[in-house]
Amino acid sequence: MTETTDPASRSGYADHPPRMGFFTDTSVCIGCKACEVACKEWNGVPSAGGRDLLGLSYDNTGGLGADTWRHVAFIEQTKPMRQEGADGPGGDMRWLMASDVCKHCTNAACLDVCPTGSLFRTEFGTVVVQEDICNGCGYCVPACPYGVIDRREDDGRAWKCTMCYDRIGDGLEPACAKACPTDSIQYGPLEELRERAAARVEEVDGARLYGDDPSDGVGGDGAFFLLLDEPEVYGLPPDPVVTTRDLPSMWRHVGAAAGVMAALAVAAFGGAK
Protein backbone atom coordinates (compact mmCIF):
# COMPACT_ATOMS: atom_id res chain seq x y z
CA MET A 1 0.00 0.00 0.00
CA THR A 2 1.24 3.44 -0.85
CA GLU A 3 1.76 6.07 1.77
CA THR A 4 -1.07 8.45 1.09
CA THR A 5 -0.77 10.94 3.91
CA ASP A 6 2.44 12.68 2.97
CA PRO A 7 2.51 13.50 -0.74
CA ALA A 8 5.65 15.65 -0.45
CA SER A 9 7.77 12.77 0.89
CA ARG A 10 6.30 10.50 -1.74
CA SER A 11 7.37 13.00 -4.41
CA GLY A 12 10.96 12.90 -3.22
CA TYR A 13 11.28 15.83 -0.83
CA ALA A 14 13.63 14.51 1.84
CA ASP A 15 13.30 17.43 4.19
CA HIS A 16 10.17 19.49 3.81
CA PRO A 17 7.74 21.68 5.75
CA PRO A 18 4.49 20.16 7.02
CA ARG A 19 1.71 19.65 4.50
CA MET A 20 -0.28 22.86 4.32
CA GLY A 21 -3.96 23.12 3.50
CA PHE A 22 -7.25 24.93 3.61
CA PHE A 23 -10.16 24.15 5.88
CA THR A 24 -13.20 25.96 4.51
CA ASP A 25 -15.90 26.08 7.17
CA THR A 26 -18.96 26.95 5.10
CA SER A 27 -21.16 27.38 8.18
CA VAL A 28 -19.62 30.81 8.77
CA CYS A 29 -19.35 31.90 5.14
CA ILE A 30 -21.31 35.12 4.58
CA GLY A 31 -20.96 35.13 0.79
CA CYS A 32 -18.95 38.35 0.62
CA LYS A 33 -16.71 37.02 -2.18
CA ALA A 34 -13.67 38.75 -0.70
CA CYS A 35 -11.81 35.47 -1.37
CA GLU A 36 -12.67 35.61 -5.07
CA VAL A 37 -11.50 39.21 -5.30
CA ALA A 38 -8.33 38.75 -3.25
CA CYS A 39 -7.38 35.69 -5.31
CA LYS A 40 -7.82 37.56 -8.57
CA GLU A 41 -5.87 40.54 -7.29
CA TRP A 42 -2.92 38.65 -5.87
CA ASN A 43 -2.58 36.14 -8.67
CA GLY A 44 -3.39 38.50 -11.54
CA VAL A 45 -6.19 36.23 -12.72
CA PRO A 46 -7.99 37.86 -15.65
CA SER A 47 -11.70 38.45 -15.90
CA ALA A 48 -13.67 35.36 -16.88
CA GLY A 49 -15.10 37.54 -19.62
CA GLY A 50 -18.20 39.66 -20.04
CA ARG A 51 -20.48 41.03 -17.37
CA ASP A 52 -22.33 37.81 -16.71
CA LEU A 53 -25.49 37.83 -14.68
CA LEU A 54 -26.15 34.16 -14.26
CA GLY A 55 -29.36 34.39 -12.27
CA LEU A 56 -28.10 31.76 -9.82
CA SER A 57 -28.96 33.55 -6.60
CA TYR A 58 -26.02 35.87 -5.87
CA ASP A 59 -23.59 33.69 -7.84
CA ASN A 60 -22.44 35.39 -11.02
CA THR A 61 -19.20 33.42 -11.16
CA GLY A 62 -20.60 29.96 -11.93
CA GLY A 63 -17.83 27.59 -11.03
CA LEU A 64 -14.09 27.01 -10.82
CA GLY A 65 -12.08 27.31 -14.01
CA ALA A 66 -8.96 28.78 -15.57
CA ASP A 67 -10.00 32.30 -14.52
CA THR A 68 -11.75 31.43 -11.26
CA TRP A 69 -9.65 29.86 -8.52
CA ARG A 70 -12.07 30.61 -5.67
CA HIS A 71 -15.79 30.35 -6.31
CA VAL A 72 -18.52 31.23 -3.83
CA ALA A 73 -21.65 29.14 -4.27
CA PHE A 74 -25.06 30.44 -3.14
CA ILE A 75 -27.80 27.92 -2.52
CA GLU A 76 -31.31 28.98 -1.50
CA GLN A 77 -33.21 26.22 0.23
CA THR A 78 -36.70 25.91 1.58
CA LYS A 79 -36.26 24.26 4.92
CA PRO A 80 -37.78 24.96 8.36
CA MET A 81 -34.93 26.72 10.11
CA ARG A 82 -36.49 28.56 13.05
CA GLN A 83 -35.48 27.16 16.39
CA GLU A 84 -38.33 25.96 18.54
CA GLY A 85 -39.80 28.66 20.72
CA ALA A 86 -37.88 31.45 19.01
CA ASP A 87 -39.66 34.67 18.09
CA GLY A 88 -39.07 37.25 15.47
CA PRO A 89 -38.70 37.20 11.74
CA GLY A 90 -37.45 34.21 9.83
CA GLY A 91 -39.11 31.47 7.96
CA ASP A 92 -38.57 28.40 5.94
CA MET A 93 -35.70 29.71 3.89
CA ARG A 94 -32.02 29.06 4.41
CA TRP A 95 -29.08 30.19 2.47
CA LEU A 96 -25.98 28.07 2.04
CA MET A 97 -22.80 29.80 1.00
CA ALA A 98 -19.55 28.03 0.33
CA SER A 99 -16.20 29.06 -1.11
CA ASP A 100 -14.89 26.31 -3.38
CA VAL A 101 -11.25 25.91 -4.37
CA CYS A 102 -8.76 23.39 -5.79
CA LYS A 103 -8.63 20.40 -3.44
CA HIS A 104 -4.85 19.80 -3.76
CA CYS A 105 -5.58 16.05 -3.68
CA THR A 106 -3.22 13.59 -2.02
CA ASN A 107 -3.56 11.50 -5.19
CA ALA A 108 -3.97 14.17 -7.84
CA ALA A 109 -5.20 12.99 -11.23
CA CYS A 110 -4.23 16.26 -12.96
CA LEU A 111 -0.65 15.81 -11.85
CA ASP A 112 -0.59 12.09 -12.74
CA VAL A 113 -1.78 12.59 -16.32
CA CYS A 114 0.22 15.74 -17.15
CA PRO A 115 2.55 14.61 -19.96
CA THR A 116 5.02 17.51 -19.72
CA GLY A 117 5.70 17.57 -15.99
CA SER A 118 4.23 21.07 -15.88
CA LEU A 119 2.04 20.11 -12.94
CA PHE A 120 4.15 19.27 -9.92
CA ARG A 121 3.93 18.60 -6.20
CA THR A 122 5.40 21.31 -4.01
CA GLU A 123 7.27 20.84 -0.75
CA PHE A 124 4.04 21.90 1.00
CA GLY A 125 2.19 18.95 -0.56
CA THR A 126 0.19 21.24 -2.86
CA VAL A 127 -0.23 20.87 -6.63
CA VAL A 128 0.94 23.70 -8.89
CA VAL A 129 1.10 24.33 -12.67
CA GLN A 130 4.39 25.63 -14.11
CA GLU A 131 3.12 27.97 -16.78
CA ASP A 132 6.42 28.08 -18.64
CA ILE A 133 6.18 24.31 -19.25
CA CYS A 134 2.46 23.74 -19.94
CA ASN A 135 1.79 23.13 -23.62
CA GLY A 136 -1.97 23.23 -23.26
CA CYS A 137 -2.64 19.57 -24.06
CA GLY A 138 -5.74 19.81 -21.87
CA TYR A 139 -5.37 16.34 -20.35
CA CYS A 140 -5.62 17.64 -16.76
CA VAL A 141 -9.03 19.20 -17.47
CA PRO A 142 -11.17 16.05 -17.81
CA ALA A 143 -8.88 14.16 -15.40
CA CYS A 144 -9.86 16.35 -12.44
CA PRO A 145 -12.78 14.69 -10.61
CA TYR A 146 -13.83 18.06 -9.13
CA GLY A 147 -13.95 20.23 -12.26
CA VAL A 148 -11.26 22.59 -10.97
CA ILE A 149 -8.50 23.04 -13.54
CA ASP A 150 -9.27 24.41 -16.99
CA ARG A 151 -7.56 25.78 -20.07
CA ARG A 152 -7.61 29.55 -20.57
CA GLU A 153 -8.99 30.21 -24.01
CA ASP A 154 -6.88 33.10 -25.28
CA ASP A 155 -3.73 31.83 -23.59
CA GLY A 156 -3.96 28.09 -24.30
CA ARG A 157 -2.49 26.92 -21.01
CA ALA A 158 -4.02 25.27 -17.96
CA TRP A 159 -4.52 27.31 -14.79
CA LYS A 160 -5.74 26.71 -11.27
CA CYS A 161 -5.23 27.63 -7.62
CA THR A 162 -1.59 27.46 -6.47
CA MET A 163 -2.51 27.86 -2.79
CA CYS A 164 -0.50 31.07 -3.30
CA TYR A 165 2.79 29.18 -3.64
CA ASP A 166 4.56 32.54 -3.85
CA ARG A 167 3.10 33.65 -0.50
CA ILE A 168 3.27 30.51 1.61
CA GLY A 169 6.97 30.05 0.87
CA ASP A 170 7.48 33.36 2.68
CA GLY A 171 5.33 32.32 5.61
CA LEU A 172 2.32 34.36 4.51
CA GLU A 173 -1.14 32.88 4.28
CA PRO A 174 -2.84 32.62 0.86
CA ALA A 175 -4.68 35.72 -0.31
CA CYS A 176 -8.16 34.21 0.03
CA ALA A 177 -7.61 33.11 3.62
CA LYS A 178 -6.08 36.48 4.46
CA ALA A 179 -9.08 38.32 3.05
CA CYS A 180 -11.78 36.12 4.56
CA PRO A 181 -13.50 38.26 7.24
CA THR A 182 -15.15 35.37 9.11
CA ASP A 183 -12.35 32.83 9.08
CA SER A 184 -14.52 30.59 6.96
CA ILE A 185 -11.30 29.97 5.02
CA GLN A 186 -8.60 28.74 7.37
CA TYR A 187 -5.06 28.04 6.24
CA GLY A 188 -2.48 26.02 8.14
CA PRO A 189 -0.75 22.69 8.62
CA LEU A 190 -3.23 20.06 7.43
CA GLU A 191 -2.94 17.98 10.60
CA GLU A 192 -3.90 20.94 12.73
CA LEU A 193 -6.79 21.86 10.44
CA ARG A 194 -8.13 18.32 10.60
CA GLU A 195 -8.16 18.43 14.40
CA ARG A 196 -9.89 21.79 14.38
CA ALA A 197 -12.48 20.55 11.86
CA ALA A 198 -13.18 17.41 13.86
CA ALA A 199 -14.04 19.60 16.85
CA ARG A 200 -16.07 22.04 14.79
CA VAL A 201 -18.23 19.41 13.12
CA GLU A 202 -19.43 18.29 16.57
CA GLU A 203 -20.65 21.82 17.31
CA VAL A 204 -22.71 22.51 14.21
CA ASP A 205 -26.10 20.91 13.59
CA GLY A 206 -26.30 18.99 10.33
CA ALA A 207 -22.63 19.57 9.53
CA ARG A 208 -20.42 17.07 7.79
CA LEU A 209 -16.81 17.13 6.68
CA TYR A 210 -15.92 16.69 3.02
CA GLY A 211 -12.48 15.73 1.76
CA ASP A 212 -10.95 15.26 5.23
CA ASP A 213 -10.68 11.48 5.08
CA PRO A 214 -7.31 10.09 3.91
CA SER A 215 -9.02 6.82 3.01
CA ASP A 216 -11.33 8.39 0.41
CA GLY A 217 -11.02 7.99 -3.37
CA VAL A 218 -8.37 10.69 -3.73
CA GLY A 219 -6.45 9.91 -0.54
CA GLY A 220 -7.93 12.95 1.16
CA ASP A 221 -7.85 16.57 0.10
CA GLY A 222 -5.34 19.24 1.01
CA ALA A 223 -8.29 21.62 0.92
CA PHE A 224 -11.32 20.20 2.72
CA PHE A 225 -14.69 21.54 3.81
CA LEU A 226 -17.38 21.61 6.44
CA LEU A 227 -20.69 21.42 4.58
CA LEU A 228 -24.29 21.71 5.73
CA ASP A 229 -25.82 19.53 3.03
CA GLU A 230 -24.82 16.80 0.56
CA PRO A 231 -21.74 17.69 -1.50
CA GLU A 232 -23.61 17.54 -4.82
CA VAL A 233 -25.86 20.37 -3.62
CA TYR A 234 -22.73 22.55 -3.71
CA GLY A 235 -21.70 21.15 -7.10
CA LEU A 236 -19.14 18.81 -5.54
CA PRO A 237 -18.89 15.11 -6.47
CA PRO A 238 -20.21 12.91 -3.63
CA ASP A 239 -17.54 10.21 -3.95
CA PRO A 240 -14.68 11.30 -6.22
CA VAL A 241 -12.03 8.77 -7.18
CA VAL A 242 -8.65 9.53 -8.73
CA THR A 243 -8.91 8.06 -12.24
CA THR A 244 -5.32 6.78 -12.20
CA ARG A 245 -6.27 4.31 -9.48
CA ASP A 246 -7.55 2.13 -12.33
CA LEU A 247 -4.66 2.88 -14.68
CA PRO A 248 -2.67 -0.33 -14.00
CA SER A 249 -5.76 -2.29 -15.01
CA MET A 250 -6.23 -0.01 -18.03
CA TRP A 251 -2.67 -0.72 -19.19
CA ARG A 252 -3.25 -4.45 -18.80
CA HIS A 253 -6.34 -4.19 -20.99
CA VAL A 254 -4.42 -2.10 -23.53
CA GLY A 255 -1.69 -4.76 -23.65
CA ALA A 256 -4.21 -7.55 -24.08
CA ALA A 257 -6.06 -5.68 -26.82
CA ALA A 258 -2.80 -5.00 -28.67
CA GLY A 259 -1.93 -8.70 -28.43
CA VAL A 260 -5.33 -9.68 -29.77
CA MET A 261 -4.92 -7.22 -32.64
CA ALA A 262 -1.61 -8.79 -33.61
CA ALA A 263 -3.22 -12.23 -33.37
CA LEU A 264 -6.01 -11.10 -35.70
CA ALA A 265 -3.40 -10.04 -38.24
CA VAL A 266 -1.62 -13.40 -37.98
CA ALA A 267 -4.96 -15.12 -38.46
CA ALA A 268 -5.75 -12.87 -41.43
CA PHE A 269 -2.58 -14.01 -43.19
CA GLY A 270 -2.86 -17.58 -41.94
CA GLY A 271 -6.24 -17.84 -43.57
CA ALA A 272 -4.94 -16.47 -46.88
CA LYS A 273 -3.47 -18.80 -49.42
Binding site: G117, C137, P142, E232, V233, G235, L247, M261, V266
Partner: protein
Protein backbone atom coordinates in the same frame (compact mmCIF):
# COMPACT_ATOMS: atom_id res chain seq x y z
CA UNK B 1 -32.21 23.62 -15.82
CA UNK B 2 -34.06 20.34 -15.90
CA UNK B 3 -37.00 19.60 -13.69
CA UNK B 4 -34.91 17.39 -11.44
CA UNK B 5 -32.38 20.11 -10.82
CA UNK B 6 -34.17 22.30 -8.38
CA UNK B 7 -32.52 25.57 -7.50
CA UNK B 8 -32.34 24.61 -3.86
CA UNK B 9 -30.28 21.65 -4.88
CA UNK B 10 -32.47 19.07 -3.25
CA UNK B 11 -34.87 16.53 -4.58
CA UNK B 12 -38.50 15.85 -3.82
CA UNK B 13 -37.56 12.66 -2.10
CA UNK B 14 -35.11 14.44 0.16
CA UNK B 15 -37.77 16.77 1.50
CA UNK B 16 -39.91 13.89 2.62
CA UNK B 17 -37.11 12.15 4.45
CA UNK B 18 -34.91 14.91 5.65
CA UNK B 19 -32.65 12.80 7.84
CA UNK B 20 -31.66 10.01 5.50
CA UNK B 21 -31.61 11.36 1.98
CA UNK B 22 -32.15 8.71 -0.62
CA UNK B 23 -31.48 9.55 -4.22
CA UNK B 24 -33.49 7.42 -6.59
CA UNK B 25 -32.37 7.06 -10.18
CA UNK B 26 -34.24 9.98 -11.66
CA UNK B 27 -33.59 12.38 -8.78
CA UNK B 28 -30.27 13.80 -7.80
CA UNK B 29 -28.90 16.88 -6.21
CA UNK B 30 -26.88 19.35 -8.21
CA UNK B 31 -25.81 22.97 -8.20
CA UNK B 32 -28.33 24.54 -10.59
CA UNK B 33 -27.85 21.58 -12.94
CA UNK B 34 -24.32 22.71 -13.75
CA UNK B 35 -21.68 20.06 -14.53
CA UNK B 36 -19.52 18.78 -11.67
CA UNK B 37 -16.62 18.26 -14.08
CA UNK B 38 -14.99 20.70 -16.42
CA UNK B 39 -15.79 19.02 -19.75
CA UNK B 40 -12.87 18.14 -22.05
CA UNK B 41 -11.44 21.07 -23.99
CA UNK B 42 -10.46 18.65 -26.74
CA UNK B 43 -12.12 19.38 -30.04
CA UNK B 44 -13.52 17.59 -33.04
CA UNK B 45 -12.10 16.76 -35.58
CA UNK B 46 -8.71 16.89 -33.83
CA UNK B 47 -9.14 14.35 -31.06
CA UNK B 48 -11.59 11.85 -32.60
CA UNK B 49 -9.47 12.09 -35.76
CA UNK B 50 -6.35 11.37 -33.75
CA UNK B 51 -8.00 8.32 -32.16
CA UNK B 52 -9.23 7.02 -35.50
CA UNK B 53 -6.01 7.58 -37.46
CA UNK B 54 -3.90 5.93 -34.76
CA UNK B 55 -5.99 2.80 -35.16
CA UNK B 56 -5.85 2.94 -38.95
CA UNK B 57 -2.07 3.38 -38.87
CA UNK B 58 -1.44 0.64 -36.31
CA UNK B 59 -3.54 -1.89 -38.18
CA UNK B 60 -1.98 -0.90 -41.49
CA UNK B 61 1.51 -1.54 -40.14
CA UNK B 62 0.48 -5.09 -39.26
CA UNK B 63 -0.95 -5.66 -42.72
CA UNK B 64 2.12 -4.06 -44.30
CA UNK B 65 4.50 -6.41 -42.48
CA UNK B 66 2.44 -9.46 -43.38
CA UNK B 67 2.16 -8.33 -47.00
CA UNK B 68 5.93 -7.98 -47.28
CA UNK B 69 6.50 -11.37 -45.70
CA UNK B 70 4.00 -13.13 -47.96
CA UNK B 71 4.97 -11.37 -51.19
CA UNK B 72 2.02 -9.04 -51.72
CA UNK B 73 3.67 -5.90 -53.08
CA UNK B 74 0.52 -3.88 -53.80
CA UNK B 75 -0.96 -4.54 -50.37
CA UNK B 76 2.39 -3.70 -48.75
CA UNK B 77 2.67 -0.40 -50.61
CA UNK B 78 -0.90 0.62 -49.82
CA UNK B 79 -0.80 -0.25 -46.14
CA UNK B 80 2.68 1.10 -45.46
CA UNK B 81 1.75 4.38 -47.15
CA UNK B 82 -1.53 4.40 -45.24
CA UNK B 83 0.30 3.84 -41.97
CA UNK B 84 2.65 6.78 -42.30
CA UNK B 85 -0.02 9.05 -43.76
CA UNK B 86 -2.39 8.15 -40.93
CA UNK B 87 0.27 8.56 -38.27
CA UNK B 88 1.45 11.88 -39.67
CA UNK B 89 -2.06 13.28 -39.88
CA UNK B 90 -2.78 11.95 -36.40
CA UNK B 91 0.30 13.79 -35.11
CA UNK B 92 -0.87 16.92 -36.88
CA UNK B 93 -4.25 16.69 -35.12
CA UNK B 94 -2.57 16.13 -31.78
CA UNK B 95 -0.32 19.17 -32.15
CA UNK B 96 -3.11 21.30 -33.58
CA UNK B 97 -5.30 20.60 -30.54
CA UNK B 98 -2.66 21.87 -28.10
CA UNK B 99 -3.23 25.24 -26.50
CA UNK B 100 0.45 25.96 -27.24
CA UNK B 101 1.38 23.97 -30.35
CA UNK B 102 4.89 25.51 -30.39
CA UNK B 103 5.57 23.70 -27.12
CA UNK B 104 4.74 20.29 -28.51
CA UNK B 105 8.22 18.98 -27.77
CA UNK B 106 7.60 19.50 -24.05
CA UNK B 107 5.78 16.16 -24.39
CA UNK B 108 9.23 14.58 -24.53
CA UNK B 109 10.52 16.44 -21.47
CA UNK B 110 9.64 13.59 -19.14
CA UNK B 111 8.43 10.00 -19.34
CA UNK B 112 5.47 9.22 -17.09
CA UNK B 113 3.77 5.86 -17.04
CA UNK B 114 0.91 7.52 -15.11
CA UNK B 115 0.14 9.63 -18.17
CA UNK B 116 -1.07 7.74 -21.24
CA UNK B 117 -0.38 10.90 -23.23
CA UNK B 118 3.25 10.82 -22.18
CA UNK B 119 3.57 7.10 -22.95
CA UNK B 120 1.81 7.73 -26.26
CA UNK B 121 4.12 10.59 -27.20
CA UNK B 122 7.18 8.38 -26.73
CA UNK B 123 5.45 5.56 -28.56
CA UNK B 124 4.72 7.83 -31.52
CA UNK B 125 8.26 9.19 -31.39
CA UNK B 126 9.45 5.64 -32.10
CA UNK B 127 6.59 4.54 -34.32
CA UNK B 128 6.37 7.46 -36.75
CA UNK B 129 9.99 7.19 -37.95
CA UNK B 130 9.66 3.41 -38.26
CA UNK B 131 6.46 3.67 -40.28
CA UNK B 132 7.99 6.43 -42.38
CA UNK B 133 11.14 4.48 -43.21
CA UNK B 134 9.06 1.34 -43.86
CA UNK B 135 6.96 3.22 -46.41
CA UNK B 136 9.87 5.08 -47.98
CA UNK B 137 12.01 1.97 -48.51
CA UNK B 138 9.04 0.09 -49.89
CA UNK B 139 8.03 2.81 -52.34
CA UNK B 140 11.66 3.28 -53.38
CA UNK B 141 11.75 -0.34 -54.40
CA UNK B 142 8.43 -0.16 -56.18
CA UNK B 143 9.40 2.95 -58.11
CA UNK B 144 12.25 0.98 -59.63
CA UNK B 145 14.86 3.55 -58.63
CA UNK B 146 18.52 2.56 -58.46
CA UNK B 147 18.74 0.42 -55.36
CA UNK B 148 20.62 1.73 -52.36
CA UNK B 149 22.83 -0.46 -50.21
CA UNK B 150 21.04 -1.67 -47.11
CA UNK B 151 17.58 -0.62 -48.32
CA UNK B 152 16.12 -4.09 -47.94
CA UNK B 153 17.56 -4.58 -44.48
CA UNK B 154 16.47 -1.14 -43.36
CA UNK B 155 13.05 -1.77 -44.87
CA UNK B 156 12.67 -5.11 -43.12
CA UNK B 157 13.78 -3.71 -39.76
CA UNK B 158 11.52 -0.65 -39.91
CA UNK B 159 8.58 -2.73 -41.16
CA UNK B 160 9.04 -5.12 -38.25
CA UNK B 161 9.41 -2.24 -35.80
CA UNK B 162 6.25 -0.53 -37.04
CA UNK B 163 4.35 -3.82 -36.85
CA UNK B 164 5.44 -4.41 -33.26
CA UNK B 165 4.52 -0.86 -32.16
CA UNK B 166 1.41 -0.56 -34.36
CA UNK B 167 -1.03 -2.46 -32.11
CA UNK B 168 0.01 -0.26 -29.18
CA UNK B 169 -0.46 2.89 -31.27
CA UNK B 170 -3.98 1.64 -31.96
CA UNK B 171 -4.77 0.77 -28.35
CA UNK B 172 -3.04 3.25 -26.02
CA UNK B 173 -5.51 5.99 -26.94
CA UNK B 174 -8.20 3.90 -25.23
CA UNK B 175 -6.29 4.26 -21.95
CA UNK B 176 -5.77 7.93 -22.78
CA UNK B 177 -9.48 8.75 -22.84
CA UNK B 178 -10.43 6.27 -20.09
CA UNK B 179 -7.83 7.70 -17.70
CA UNK B 180 -10.07 10.70 -16.98
CA UNK B 181 -12.99 11.48 -14.69
CA UNK B 182 -15.28 11.55 -17.76
CA UNK B 183 -17.94 9.02 -16.70
CA UNK B 184 -18.63 7.21 -19.98
CA UNK B 185 -14.96 7.05 -20.93
CA UNK B 186 -13.72 5.93 -17.55
CA UNK B 187 -16.42 3.35 -16.93
CA UNK B 188 -15.81 1.79 -20.34
CA UNK B 189 -12.10 1.19 -19.77
CA UNK B 190 -12.09 -2.64 -19.82
CA UNK B 191 -13.66 -2.84 -23.29
CA UNK B 192 -12.40 0.42 -24.77
CA UNK B 193 -8.99 -0.93 -25.94
CA UNK B 194 -10.69 -3.86 -27.67
CA UNK B 195 -13.12 -1.52 -29.42
CA UNK B 196 -10.12 0.55 -30.52
CA UNK B 197 -7.97 -2.30 -31.83
CA UNK B 198 -10.97 -3.99 -33.46
CA UNK B 199 -11.89 -0.71 -35.08
CA UNK B 200 -8.28 -0.10 -36.16
CA UNK B 201 -8.04 -3.57 -37.70
CA UNK B 202 -11.32 -2.98 -39.53
CA UNK B 203 -10.12 0.37 -40.87
CA UNK B 204 -6.77 -1.05 -41.98
CA UNK B 205 -8.51 -3.96 -43.68
CA UNK B 206 -10.83 -1.49 -45.38
CA UNK B 207 -7.90 0.59 -46.57
CA UNK B 208 -6.18 -2.55 -47.90
CA UNK B 209 -9.32 -3.54 -49.81
CA UNK B 210 -9.73 -0.08 -51.27
CA UNK B 211 -6.07 0.31 -52.21
CA UNK B 212 -5.58 -3.09 -53.80
CA UNK B 213 -8.77 -2.58 -55.83
CA UNK B 214 -7.72 0.84 -57.04
CA UNK B 215 -4.25 -0.44 -57.95
CA UNK B 216 -5.83 -3.36 -59.77
CA UNK B 217 -3.85 -5.94 -57.81
CA UNK B 218 -4.49 -9.64 -58.17
CA UNK B 219 -7.34 -11.12 -56.14
CA UNK B 220 -4.91 -12.91 -53.80
CA UNK B 221 -3.37 -9.67 -52.60
CA UNK B 222 -6.61 -8.50 -50.98
CA UNK B 223 -7.35 -11.70 -49.08
CA UNK B 224 -5.54 -10.82 -45.80
CA UNK B 225 -7.09 -7.33 -45.88
CA UNK B 226 -10.49 -8.91 -46.28
CA UNK B 227 -9.88 -11.29 -43.39
CA UNK B 228 -8.55 -8.57 -41.10
CA UNK B 229 -11.44 -6.28 -41.96
CA UNK B 230 -13.98 -8.94 -41.03
CA UNK B 231 -12.18 -10.00 -37.85
CA UNK B 232 -11.76 -6.36 -36.81
CA UNK B 233 -15.39 -5.51 -37.52
CA UNK B 234 -16.52 -8.48 -35.45
CA UNK B 235 -14.26 -7.50 -32.56
CA UNK B 236 -15.27 -3.84 -32.62
CA UNK B 237 -18.92 -4.71 -32.66
CA UNK B 238 -18.64 -7.38 -29.94
CA UNK B 239 -16.61 -5.15 -27.61
CA UNK B 240 -18.91 -2.17 -28.14
CA UNK B 241 -21.91 -4.33 -27.41
CA UNK B 242 -20.34 -5.77 -24.32
CA UNK B 243 -19.44 -2.32 -23.01
CA UNK B 244 -22.83 -0.70 -23.58
CA UNK B 245 -24.60 -3.69 -22.03
CA UNK B 246 -22.35 -3.84 -18.99
CA UNK B 247 -22.62 -0.14 -18.23
CA UNK B 248 -25.89 1.08 -16.85
CA UNK B 249 -26.45 4.83 -16.65
CA UNK B 250 -23.17 5.79 -18.34
CA UNK B 251 -24.07 3.69 -21.42
CA UNK B 252 -26.82 6.19 -22.18
CA UNK B 253 -24.59 8.83 -23.87
CA UNK B 254 -23.47 6.26 -26.46
CA UNK B 255 -27.06 5.90 -27.64
CA UNK B 256 -28.34 9.47 -27.46
CA UNK B 257 -27.69 12.84 -29.04
CA UNK B 258 -24.87 13.44 -31.46
CA UNK B 259 -22.88 10.47 -30.16
CA UNK B 260 -25.85 8.17 -30.69
CA UNK B 261 -26.06 9.21 -34.35
CA UNK B 262 -22.37 8.47 -34.91
CA UNK B 263 -22.57 5.11 -33.13
CA UNK B 264 -25.59 4.16 -35.22
CA UNK B 265 -23.91 5.29 -38.43
CA UNK B 266 -20.84 3.28 -37.44
CA UNK B 267 -22.92 0.14 -37.02
CA UNK B 268 -24.62 0.58 -40.39
CA UNK B 269 -21.38 1.34 -42.23
CA UNK B 270 -19.52 -1.56 -40.61
CA UNK B 271 -22.44 -3.88 -41.37
CA UNK B 272 -22.63 -2.83 -45.01
CA UNK B 273 -18.87 -2.87 -45.36
CA UNK B 274 -18.62 -6.35 -43.86
CA UNK B 275 -21.40 -7.65 -46.11
CA UNK B 276 -19.68 -6.18 -49.16
CA UNK B 277 -16.35 -7.61 -48.03
CA UNK B 278 -17.85 -11.08 -47.85
CA UNK B 279 -19.47 -10.54 -51.26
CA UNK B 280 -16.09 -9.57 -52.75
CA UNK B 281 -14.79 -13.04 -51.86
CA UNK B 282 -17.26 -14.71 -54.20
CA UNK B 283 -16.32 -15.39 -57.82
CA UNK B 284 -17.44 -12.20 -59.51
CA UNK B 285 -16.29 -10.53 -62.73
CA UNK B 286 -13.00 -8.74 -62.00
CA UNK B 287 -14.39 -5.23 -62.36
CA UNK B 288 -17.42 -5.99 -60.19
CA UNK B 289 -15.23 -7.59 -57.52
CA UNK B 290 -12.94 -4.58 -57.42
CA UNK B 291 -15.86 -2.16 -57.28
CA UNK B 292 -17.52 -4.06 -54.43
CA UNK B 293 -14.22 -4.34 -52.53
CA UNK B 294 -13.44 -0.64 -52.97
CA UNK B 295 -16.86 0.51 -51.81
CA UNK B 296 -16.75 -1.91 -48.88
CA UNK B 297 -13.31 -0.63 -47.95
CA UNK B 298 -14.54 2.95 -47.87
CA UNK B 299 -17.53 1.93 -45.72
CA UNK B 300 -15.27 0.12 -43.25
CA UNK B 301 -12.88 3.05 -42.91
CA UNK B 302 -15.79 5.45 -42.49
CA UNK B 303 -17.43 3.12 -39.97
CA UNK B 304 -14.28 3.04 -37.89
CA UNK B 305 -14.12 6.83 -37.94
CA UNK B 306 -17.77 7.08 -36.87
CA UNK B 307 -17.08 4.80 -33.91
CA UNK B 308 -14.36 7.16 -32.65
CA UNK B 309 -16.48 10.25 -33.22
CA UNK B 310 -19.33 8.56 -31.37
CA UNK B 311 -17.14 7.61 -28.42
CA UNK B 312 -15.66 11.10 -28.34
CA UNK B 313 -19.02 12.85 -28.24
CA UNK B 314 -20.47 10.36 -25.76
CA UNK B 315 -17.69 11.20 -23.32
CA UNK B 316 -18.16 14.93 -23.72
CA UNK B 317 -21.92 14.56 -23.20
CA UNK B 318 -21.37 12.46 -20.07
CA UNK B 319 -19.11 15.15 -18.61
CA UNK B 320 -21.54 17.95 -19.39
CA UNK B 321 -24.49 16.45 -17.52
CA UNK B 322 -23.99 16.21 -13.74
CA UNK B 323 -26.28 13.20 -13.46
CA UNK B 324 -23.62 10.90 -14.93
CA UNK B 325 -21.18 12.05 -12.27
CA UNK B 326 -23.45 12.32 -9.25
CA UNK B 327 -25.84 9.36 -9.54
CA UNK B 328 -23.24 6.56 -9.90
CA UNK B 329 -21.15 8.03 -7.06
CA UNK B 330 -24.22 8.38 -4.85
CA UNK B 331 -25.22 4.78 -5.60
CA UNK B 332 -21.71 3.60 -4.77
CA UNK B 333 -21.84 5.39 -1.41
CA UNK B 334 -25.23 3.91 -0.64
CA UNK B 335 -24.22 0.38 -1.51
CA UNK B 336 -21.08 0.78 0.62
CA UNK B 337 -23.20 2.07 3.49
CA UNK B 338 -25.58 -0.87 3.06
CA UNK B 339 -22.60 -3.23 3.04
CA UNK B 340 -21.30 -1.80 6.31
CA UNK B 341 -24.75 -1.98 7.90
CA UNK B 342 -25.04 -5.58 6.77
CA UNK B 343 -21.67 -6.60 8.18
CA UNK B 344 -22.53 -5.04 11.54
CA UNK B 345 -25.87 -6.83 11.76
Amino acid sequence: MTTTDRPNGSSFQRKQKAERPMVPKAEFGSYYGSPVLNPPVWESPDIPGYLFLGGLAGGSSLLGAGASLTGRPALAAVTKSGAIAGAALSMYFLVHDLGRPARFLNMLRVFKVTSPMSVGSWLLAAYVPAAGVAAATDLWGMAGLRDLPGRRLLGAASTAGAAVLGPFVASYTAALISDTAVPSWHDGYPEMPFIFTGSGAMAAGGLGLLGTSVLGASAGEAVPARNLALLGAAMESAAMRRMTRRLTLTAEPFATGRAGKYVKAAKILAGLGAAGTVASAFPLPVRARRAVAAVSGVALVAGSACTRWGIFHAGVASAEDPKYTVIPQRERLESEAAGHAGSKG
